[in-house]
Structures are given as C-alpha cells and as structure tokens.
C-alpha cells in the first residue's frame, strides 16, 4: 500500500511540475474560461438576454453555472492529452516497464485533473462574486458544486484517456476533441435554458449529462436549497451511471493498449 502511494504521489508530482514549468500555458488554462466566457460573454449578452427567459437577475449570474460546468468539460476532455504525448514519445513504455501497479498512472492523472479543475471552479465562482453573483446556498453549496463537478470530470477524463490510448495519432485526438466540445456546450443548458431552445435542440440537450450537471449547479448559485435539492438528488445517480460507463470503456481501452 505504501508502495502504491509512493508511485501515485511521484506521478502526480510530475504533472504538477510540468504545469508549473509551462507558466504561459498555466496562465491561459486558468484564465481562459473566466475571461472569455464569464466576463466577455456574460457582460456582452447582458442586455440581449431576456431575464424573463433566463429566470435570473442578470445574464452573468445565469451563465456562472454554465461556465463552471464548461470548465469541467474542457479540463476533463483534455485530461488525456499528456498521456497521449507520453504514449507517443515512449515515456509511457518506460513507466510501464517499471514494477508499478498499472492503475497508478491513471489515478495520478485523475487526481491532478480533479485538483486543477476544482481550483479553477473556485476561481470562477470568485470572479463571478466580484460581478455580484453570490451563491445562494453558501459555502456548503459551493462544496456540492465541487462534488458535482468532480463526478462529471471523472467520466470525462476517463473518456479522454480512453481516446488517448486508442487513437492512432494525436491529430485524430484533437479533431475528435474539437468535434465534441462545442456541440456539448451548445446542446446543453449552459448558455440558454432548455425552455428557450428550438424543440429539436432541447430534445437532444436532455440527453446531455452536462445539462443535468448545470441544472443542479444553477439553482445552488441562483435560488437556494429548496429549488436545488431535487436536481442534486437527480444528478448524483445520473453521474454515477455516466462515470461507470466511461470508466468501463476507459479500462477496456487501457487494457487493449497495454496488453
């Protein structure tokens, strides 16, 4: 057990080191979602968005939940990228020829991605706070938001790692990534509530796990526990199923690539 922990912590520290050496990349990763989506998009659509439709005091407070979950989405989907590069330059083989548990590499990646994502979510909520968005459910609500984010993130990271292990080239990986990310966002309640969408879009959005996550996070920020609890009670089993499916697929891809 101590050996297992030694492996996982050394591998996790490697990801932290890499990130800290790429200062620019770190800055842009951290700042991009709040700058681009929350500040620009949120303020830009302030008057275009109808508060009757969004059911929120202003657009930025409506959007906050969307940006939180979008950040989870993007971090999760990109979670396998470093393993992809490790696979391509042979570093992964070096790790795998060492007497380590096969799961250490994967677990270190989950720990790293979840930690970074949680920090980012906190920063986003902080920036939103500066624009007057105060989470209605307080600190406990923030904790629940982080929990939902992590549950969604685990599945996404598993998908990303499965892709990293399965694709032939990193070109393929990034094409699929680009193809997945934006439709996932548009076909969810991130930017517009389902009720305001064209029928076919809201129909599709209902099957998007992202919608479920946002619909639980949003009342935690906007309205309060009585509104939020039914959604939270729904999203947890949904995420458990989502994670189970993604982890199963990920484990299969991993075994195929490593066997």
């Amino acid at each position: 057990m101590t050996e297992y922990w030694q492996e996982i912590s050394a591998l996790t520290m490697r990801w932290v080191r890499r990130l800290s050496r790429e200062k620019f990349s770190m800055l842009f990763t951290l700042v991009q979602p709040m700058l681009f989506w929350l500040i620009f998009f949120g303020n830009l659509f302030q008057r275009a968005a109808d508060t009757q439709v969004t059911q929120a005091p202003n657009y930025i407070s409506f959007l906050a939940a969307g940006v939180v979950v979008m950040t989870v989405l993007n971090n999760g989907l990109a979670g396998g990228v470093d393993l992809l590069f490790d696979k391509e330059n042979g570093f992964l083989e070096r790790l795998m020829s060492a007497p380590i548990r096969r799961s250490s590499v994967i677990l270190s990646r989950f720990i790293f991605v979840m930690t970074i994502t949680s920090l980012q979510v906190l920063v986003i909520l902080g920036v939103a706070f500066l624009f007057g968005v105060e989470p209605a459910t307080g600190l406990l609500g923030v904790a629940v938001i982080l929990l939902i984010g992590m549950m969604f993130g685990v599945g996404l990271t598993a998908i990303s790692m499965a892709m990293a292990f399965s694709v032939k080239s990193h070109g393929d990986f990034f094409s699929v990534l680009g193809f997945l990310s934006l439709p996932m966002i548009f076909l969810s309640s991130a930017l517009v509530p389902l009720a305001a969408m064209p029928g076919w879009m809201s129909f599709l959005a209902r099957f998007n796990p992202m919608t479920w996550a946002i619909d639980a996070v949003r009342p935690l920020i906007l309205s309060g526990w009585s509104d939020a609890l039914p959604h939270v009670a729904m999203v947890i089993p949904v995420m458990l199923v989502f994670d189970a499916v993604c982890l199963y697929g990920g484990a299969k891809a991993f075994r195929r690539a490593m066997g």
């Binding site: 050996e3 030694q6 492996e7 912590s9 050394a10 591998l11 520290m13 490697r14 080191r17 890499r18 050496r21 790429e22 490790d86 391509e88 330059n89 042979g90 570093f91 083989e93 070096r94 790790l95 795998m96 020829s97 060492a98 007497p99 380590i100 490593m258 066997g259």
Partner: protein, 322 residues
C-alpha cells in the same frame, strides 16, 4: 561448461490482427553476455524486445526472464530489468535529476537510496553538470545518456536497449558502446536491438539475425561468418549485359561455392581463393567481360546478412558513416 541462462524464449509469436509481427521465435540469452537482435526496420526486433520487457503479451509461445514468465510473473520480471526505449522517452519539462527521482519512486527506492544512486549514475554518464537543467535543453547525445541512466537506475540484472545509437553522431555512438562494454564487465546481461551491422559485429557476443519476424541465423559474429564457408570475391564488370552469362559459367566451377549477381557485378563465395581466382579471371576473359574492379575479403557480417535474408540490411535501413 554449463552457462547460466538469463532469458529463454520458446516458440514466441505475436500477431496484430492479420499481420504476423513475429513468428515462432526460439532462442536463449546467457547471463553476462551482450546479445543482439539484428535486422532491418519492421523485422520484429522491437516486438520481440517489448514482449521480453512485459509490455506485450505473446499471441502464442512463452518468454521467461531468469525463469519468470513475462506474462504470469510480469511484476517480478519488471523488478529484474531495466529498459532504454527507442524513442527519446524524455519529459522535456523535467530536469535530468527529476527523471531519475521519478523512476526512483517507481522502483520504490527510499529518497536516500535514490539520491545516492542518482549521483553515481549522473557521474557515470557524464551528466552531473547538466543534472538540474530541463531536458529540453539537452542535445541528442545527452538525452540518450539520460535514457541509459534511467535504464540503469533500478540496478537491473538485464538491461534492454532498443536501437541505442539510432541517429547519434559517431562520437556519441562510441561513447554508448563504451558504456555497454563496461556494463558487461560489471556482470550485467545486455540485450539490444540494432540495424547497424558494425554495431552488432563489434559489440555483441552473440546475435540473432531477424527478418520478416523470423530468426534467420543465430550465433557469435565470428561463428556466423565462419559458417558461411569460404571467402568472398566481388567483381565489378564493365559490360553489364554479360553479367548473367558469366554468372552461369562460374556457377558450376569446382572451386566456387555460390555466385550472386549484384547491381554492377558478381559476389562469388569461394572455397579457396588460390584455386578460384585463376578460374574466375580466365572465365571472365573467355566471355569478354572486362573486369573494372576486383575485391577479395573474408566474410563480413553484411555477407552473413545477405546470405541469410537474400538482401542487404541497407535496403530498408540506413547505415551511418564511420
């Protein structure tokens, strides 16, 4: 004399879908020797190596390291081996020392154990001065040295090197050869793949020539050369159209073992040059073949390779200039 066997490969095959990468390989490696897998790119060398280091499961057959099966006892095998991959398996953001520290943790060394060993290895491969710089500032040769230090960190019983000098300049190559010889002198078993004939010839105690996923020949470089039998006379002939005629005329002469047409002449394996040379010259003269150039040499490893695979290793891989 009974020699200890380090690696035992028994009827090993590996297929990827319909593609048979390696077919029915059997060989063993003795403890303390440098064993080479020689062959052109795509011959199955790397597949064989990766099976031995537990990264691939064979489709059929078995491989064992000091008696431990590479599939069933993978973890035990991993504790006995070190691996230097073919690609520059370097994290450009980590320093040389951080690479070794990471591996130290993965081999479950304590911090103190690791620190001591890391300093020793950095000295060995001459990287002390650069140990705390990110690897992206390293030259190709330095990365290779770090690779080797990483492979040695677990203090393995067997070190596996995949194309250790691919793409290196002459000086770095000689340096790597020196390390490998030194490791052997310390009693380590070394298994390496290469597509450089001179490397196999100079470095390996024994080698297996692999082509199309099969072993074509196996033995020490000297044994392989002697087994060819006879020396080689190479002719360069002016009249290209008369080469087939001369080939046919020489084929049945008593002093001559085999005749093989090359691009601009003939390679003739002869029993004894004293008897064969007059015959060759006389026949060429009789057929009106002007000999532009004549070369006589003891069999070299490339002659061995051609004899067993029917082609030059350079047909698919390039050899560096010496």
């Amino acid at each position: 004399m009974e020699r200890a066997v380090a690696i035992e490969v028994n009827r090993l095959s590996k297929a990827y879908g319909a593609h048979q990468a390696v077919s029915d390989l059997s060989f063993h490696v003795y403890a303390g020797e440098i064993f080479g897998l020689l062959g052109p790119n795509g011959a199955g060398k790397s597949t064989t190596l990766r099976t031995l280091i537990t990264l691939l499961h064979p489709t059929s057959g078995t491989a064992s390291i000091f008696g431990h099966d590479t599939v069933r006892e993978a973890d035990t095998v991993r504790r006995l081996i070190g691996y230097v991959p073919q690609e520059r398996a370097i994290d450009r953001f980590l320093t040389g020392r951080e690479h070794l520290q990471l591996l130290g943790a993965l081999y479950h060394l304590t911090k103190e154990e690791a620190a001591g060993r890391i300093n020793e290895l950095l000295k060995l491969v001459d990287l002390e001065a650069h140990a705390d710089r990110p690897a992206k500032t390293y030259s190709g040769g330095m990365k290779r040295k770090l690779d080797i230090a990483c492979g040695l960190l677990p203090d393995p019983k067997i070190l596996f090197l995949d194309e250790p000098t691919l793409g290196l300049d002459v000086q770095s190559r000689l340096r790597i050869w020196e390390y490998v010889r030194m490791l052997k002198a310390r009693g380590m078993t070394v298994v390496m793949t290469t597509n450089y004939l001179d490397e196999a010839d100079q470095l390996c105690d024994r080698l297996a020539i692999i082509d199309g996923g099969r072993i074509k020949a196996l033995g020490s470089p000297t044994e392989l050369k002697v087994a060819l039998g006879g020396d080689i006379v190479s002719l360069t002939i002016k009249e290209m159209d008369r080469i087939p005629g001369l080939e046919a005329a020489l084929a049945n002469q008593p002093a001559i073992k085999t005749v093989r047409a090359t691009g601009n002449g003939l390679d003739i394996r002869v029993e004894s040059p004293e008897k064969a040379l007059p015959v060759i010259l006389e026949t060429a003269n009789r057929l009106g073949c002007g000999i532009e150039f004549i070369d006589y040499h003891r069999p070299r490893l490339d002659d061995v390779f051609i004899a067993h695979t029917g082609r030059r290793i350079t047909d698919t891989a390039e050899t560096p200039v010496e």
